[in-house]
């Protein structure tokens, strides 16, 4: 992916750029709103990471708004040290596609960027999903693995659907909380893990190849690859 990072903090920038490089992405960096605006408007990027608070007279949200008004549809992830829910809503309302509060784990950032990128390439909500021998038909809500039918609770279905839509990517616990349960808080205990292990019982337990994998220090991933 070609990514634009608009962030004024030198350390955070270096950390993010290095991490993205290691993950195989090319990153352009702008350390102020003016440069960020210029790059975002002139270069084609797959995803833009935008810090909310920037030095100078242009603030991150303003750039997002201008980009959206000029018809740029590039997915934008807003980074902010303000984590309150209202702030998140304001960020998304201005045209951002996702919102991540500082400080963040790099894994979380990477997972969200992947998700954004994929989402931008259009998701057919009705198209059946397939990972290895696991199939899901969102229309009939039928899930099968191999030739065996798997019966899921509605919430388990939603969880698996989200994981399968992001097959091959890492999905963090926070992403699951937000997208599957619409919970915007940290439930402290490892409830998500318990849900995952229940789901794993149903889709993986009796099969040789596990599809739902735990990614250490990051989250989960559904993948057929090794």
């Amino acid at each position: 992916m070609k990514i634009l990072l608009v962030e004024d903090n030198e350390r955070v920038s270096q950390f993010v750029i290095k991490g993205l490089q290691e993950a195989g992405h090319t990153t352009d960096h702008a350390s102020n709103g003016r440069d960020g605006m210029f790059l975002a408007a002139s270069e084609p990027y797959d995803v833009i990471i935008m810090d909310r608070m920037l030095p100078g007279d242009i603030d991150g949200l303003a750039i997002v708004e201008v980009l959206r008004k000029t018809g740029k549809r590039t997915p934008i992830l807003i980074l902010s040290a303000l984590s309150e829910v209202d702030d998140r809503i304001r960020g998304l309302r201005s045209g951002g596609d996702d919102y991540l509060a500082k400080p963040f784990a790099f894994g979380e950032l990477l997972a969200r960027l992947d998700a954004l990128h994929r989402r931008a390439h259009g998701v057919d909500k009705e198209r059946p999903l397939t990972v290895g021998d696991l199939h899901m038909d969102p229309l009939t809500r039928k899930v099968t693995r191999g030739d065996r039918h798997i019966s899921l609770q509605p919430r388990e279905f939603k969880l698996l659907e989200y994981l399968m839509r992001h097959a091959g990517q890492v999905v963090t616990r926070t992403m699951l909380l937000e997208n599957v349960w619409d919970y915007h808080f940290d439930p402290q205990t490892n409830v998500v893990d318990v849900h995952i292990s229940k789901l794993r019982q149903k889709i993986d337990a009796e099969f040789e190849r596990p599809l739902l994998r735990t990614v250490r220090n990051a989250g989960y991933s559904v993948t057929a690859d090794d």
Binding site: S83, E84, V85, D86, A101, P103, A105, R155, W181, Y183, H184, F185, D186, P187, Q188, T189, N190, V191, V194, H195, S197, K198, N217
Partner: protein, 478 residues
């Protein structure tokens, strides 16, 4: 003298009073003057007429002797009489000469006349021609002077009394106001200097200043509460963030000193990241608490179904309960529409169930119930059969960072219940901790959605009600 609203108000009223007085006196004065002048002129004309009658009857000599008799009889100054020949030489009367400024033509005049050496006196005169003679009949104005003087004195006295009384009342009111305003000012400046415990003095009556003082006192109560909260939070931060930070520091320092094998180093770094995450989590929880305390999230209130909210929370925690071999039971009597912040209520409910999961014993039971109270509000209760909370601890568990005796060794930062309490307060209700013997029942009341048409109840005031301690019907749980 400093500008005073009371004084300027009083002065304004004085000015108004004086204007009113003048508006009253001026027409009166005018009418009086006109009427009197007219009647006096009439009298003079009648006099002149009478004298010309005498002239016609008795001739010039008769008139002269008549006038002499009249002059001899009258009191000096009251009446002025003069008969002159055509050239203006006096023939009879009590004037030595024709007044210099007075023309010889007939008519009415107001002029000055030197009467019997008493100096010039203002007088009203009527001049008539009788044959070839000139007759002057006049009356001095001396008689009316005292009356006029009295009128003006009276008016001036009224204005003076009005002014003095006005200024005095103004000063007194100003003094009274000033002393009360000053006491308010002193209190407020004491507060500005940091002593938030001061309150404005109030009396029992309901005058404007008292009402204002009471309102300000209410505001001060709220401010004190908030400041207290902030102070609490910063104390808590200082106290409780130090622990994980100290752990983190020693971990890193040890790493730098010992320089263990790469595997161990990585494990330690992971541990350090986990430490930092813990610090961040505490920070987030504190920030959210502060945000709720400040009442900032009231804008996020929407109409929502409390049963739905509880059902999804129960569903969310179900697998975790199963894992711990705890039965999580949910009961609700249909939807209950309430007005609230969905994110915060979900978090509060989550915290309550999470808490219950922590303390319920193996094979325990947690019951989550939603019921509609008579006023339409929703009562959400989470009840476990764990060790419960002793009465002594009830007040403390909602304090930030407080961790009960039973919680030693369980994960958590000790902010759970205080967040629930803050959420309850934001929703204008309270958090009740009840003994379930054994166990704890936590009750959260969410006010009805006023727009739903079910409720008529007034949302309870946002007064802080820390914990309602239910009477211990049974011995406190162990």
């Amino acid at each position: 003298m400093m500008r005073s609203s009371a004084l300027s108000l009083a002065l304004g009223y004085v000015a108004l009073g004086i204007i009113a007085l003048i508006l009253f006196a001026a027409p009166l004065w005018y009418a009086w003057q006109v009427t009197i002048a007219e009647s006096r002129q009439e009298n003079l004309q009648m006099d002149a007429q009478r004298l010309s009658d005498v002239y016609r009857r008795d001739g010039a000599d008769g008139l002269k002797s008549y006038m002499d008799t009249r002059v001899g009889m009258q009191i000096v100054g009251e009446r002025i009489l003069l008969l002159t020949d055509a050239a203006g030489r006096p023939l009879a009367g009590n004037l030595a000469a024709w007044p210099p400024k007075l023309p010889l033509a007939p008519g009415n005049y107001d002029t000055e006349i030197d009467l019997a050496g008493r100096g010039n006196q203002s007088a009203l005169v009527h001049v008539a021609s009788i044959g070839s003679y000139h007759l002057l009949v006049g009356r001095d104005n001396l008689l009316f002077k005292p009356l006029q003087t009295r009128f003006w004195y009276g008016l001036s006295a009224a204005i003076a009394v009005l002014s003095i009384a006005g200024v005095l009342i103004g000063l007194i009111t100003r003094q009274a106001l000033l002393s009360r305003v000053d006491s308010i000012r002193r209190t407020v400046s004491a507060i500005i200097h940091g002593d938030l415990q001061h309150r404005l003095p109030t009396q029992v009556n309901d005058d404007e200043l008292n009402t204002l003082s009471r309102t300000i006192n209410g505001m001060l109560d709220q401010i004190e509460l908030l400041v207290h909260g902030v102070r609490n939070v910063s104390n808590s931060i200082a106290h409780d963030l130090r622990t994980p930070l100290a752990e983190l520091r020693s971990r890193l320092e040890e790493l730098s000193l010992i320089r263990p094998s790469p595997e161990e180093t990585y494990a330690e770094i992971d541990g350090a990241v986990a430490d930092v995450d813990r610090v961040i989590r505490i920070f987030d929880a504190l920030l959210r608490l502060a945000e709720i305390d400040a009442g900032m999230r009231r804008s996020g209130f929407v109409s929502l179904d409390a049963s739905d909210l509880a059902a999804s929370a129960v569903e969310f925690y179900e697998p975790a309960a199963e894992l711990k071999d705890i039965e999580l039971r949910y009961s609700a009597a249909g939807p209950v529409l309430v007005s609230g912040d969905p994110v915060l209520l979900a978090q509060a409910l989550g915290n309550l169930i999470d808490n219950a999961l922590k303390y319920a014993p193996k094979k325990g039971l947690i019951q989550v119930a939603v019921r509609r109270l008579e006023d339409g509000s929703a009562e959400v209760s989470v009840c476990d059969n764990g060790p419960g909370i002793s009465d002594a601890e009830k007040g403390k568990v909602v304090q930030r960072f407080y961790r009960g005796d039973a919680s030693r060794g369980t994960p958590g930062v000790g902010l759970g219940l205080s967040l629930v309490q803050a959420v309850a307060k934001l929703h204008g209700s309270s958090l009740e901790l009840q003994d379930e013997a054994p166990g704890l029942r936590v009750v959260l009341v969410i006010p009805a959605d006023a727009n739903a048409g079910i409720a008529t109840r007034v949302v309870p005031s946002a007064e802080p009600t820390p914990v309602k301690i239910a009477p211990a019907t049974l011995a406190p749980s162990p």
